[in-house]
Symmetry: C2
Subunit: 266 residues, 2 copies
């Protein structure tokens, strides 16, 4: 199930994911708490940005956090150790689907499906790890929901690079709108999906900085080298696009993005 991680593994990327988790924690995790003693699988924990939320919002759970990248796991361990030193996490360096025979009460998957060539298959396999009645929670973005002022074809061109590179790598950064059918196709029942919308304007400076700049624009910036190397944009086009995108984070600018959060039951 391994695919290229389109955003790359760099300190800037680690910082981006941490900023994102801080600013968005309530928005994304709101409504998700697990009872003490529940056995929970975090499938694809990355650098631990969401792991910190899971252990602090659901104290006393028996959490297994899995990732294919040893570097990310090391980062995740130190992040959790710093933010929640009392928490115990069973860290596993493994493929998501390499837990054959284990069973969980709940599965949590955040910003993972967008990178997979066959998300339905992944969801169906994760379902096998659930005890009957257990739930899966899936959170994904959808870059098609990114609308901003001022509008700019140059800015849209760099956003489209992110979408195109993700698609070339076999993923789908427009996956949020598909969560409901994906969960249904994978065999889950009681499927409920909700939009979780981020909107940033000058009256919300913490979101302008934490989301527009340090999450969204930073995410677009993370594919710059790949976009240039692939010849998708020239250096000048890239710079102009980023410059225009930054106007959405300046006086008079606005930015809107929707995440989708879905829950299904085995």
């Amino acid at each position: 199930m391994g695919t290229d991680y389109v955003h790359g593994y760099t300190p800037a990327e680690t910082r981006r994911l941490a900023d994102q988790a801080g600013t968005l924690a309530d928005l994304l995790h709101g409504g998700t708490t697990y009872a003490p003693g529940s056995r929970v699988l975090e499938a694809g924990c990355g650098v631990g940005a969401q792991t910190v939320q899971l252990v602090t919002r659901s104290p006393g759970i028996d959490l297994v956090s899995v990732d294919v990248s040893e570097e990310s796991l090391a980062e995740a361990k130190s992040r959790v150790a710093a933010a929640a030193p009392y928490a115990t996490v069973d860290w596993r360096h493994a493929d998501l689907l390499d837990l054959r025979g284990e069973k969980f009460d709940h599965v949590f998957v955040c910003f993972v499906l967008e990178h997979l060539a066959d998300p339905t298959d992944a969801l169906a396999r994760l379902r096998e790890y659930l005890n009957p009645g257990g739930t899966i929670t899936v959170i994904e973005g959808d870059h098609g929901s990114a609308i901003y002022h001022p509008r700019s074809p140059s800015a849209q061109a760099v956003v489209d690079c992110l979408v195109d590179l993700q698609a070339e790598a076999g993923g789908d950064s427009l996956i949020g709108r598909r969560l409901h059918p994906l969960l249904q196709q994978a065999g889950y029942g009681d499927v409920r999906v909700e939009p979780r919308t981020v909107y940033a304007d000058p009256a919300r400076p913490e979101l302008v900085d934490g989301f527009t700049r340090k999450t969204f624009i930073a995410m677009v910036e993370s594919v710059r080298e790949r976009a240039l190397a692939a010849g998708l944009r020239t250096e000048a086009e890239w710079a102009a696009g980023i410059r225009d995108l930054e106007r959405a984070a300046e006086a008079g600018g606005t930015f809107h993005y929707t995440f989708f959060k879905g829950v299904g039951r085995r």
Copy 2:
């Protein structure tokens, strides 16, 4: 300030606006109530879809509802008479800006600015009608927020027709994202804008029917004749686009749209 009303004045359009108001009433009007005795101006009441909400959610207000179309006003009167026979509304057949000398505690404007060539000027003039400390509430959509599954270039082409025809008529159907800067430029203080997101999938059949079909697709359909007459699409292209858009309202389909609601103070 008169402009062509891009959606046209037909029974189907009247029905669309009523369905829209019913399904969306809580989403759009939530948080908006005016104290009994307040003098409120509804600028551009159209067929009264929002007027019914204003008089039922804020009983006892002194409401003046204005529209440039005599036909729409007649429709609005009978709608309010049927839905809220006890309500008294001071109906005015006039241009929005033809109330010189009058003063209000609050102004309410819904789905009007998108049709205007100079929304900042309109907002600035409406500000003159407010008593100091009075508020304006503005609600607008943004067709750029329309994302759906399955994706389809044919479907997007018919949605784009709506955007293009609105732009040709001097309006802007991507105006929602601009509400914050527009209100600021028009001189309002304490400006707060919130997204109000509609998301419809098979688990929400009332929204699939009331919003995806009877609001959004119906709105796109309302410009069919104009789009064909303008040569923007052939009949076959139009039919294919609508067919694809309808898939978003069928099994396995989803639809997402964001309205923006802004409040400012004089």
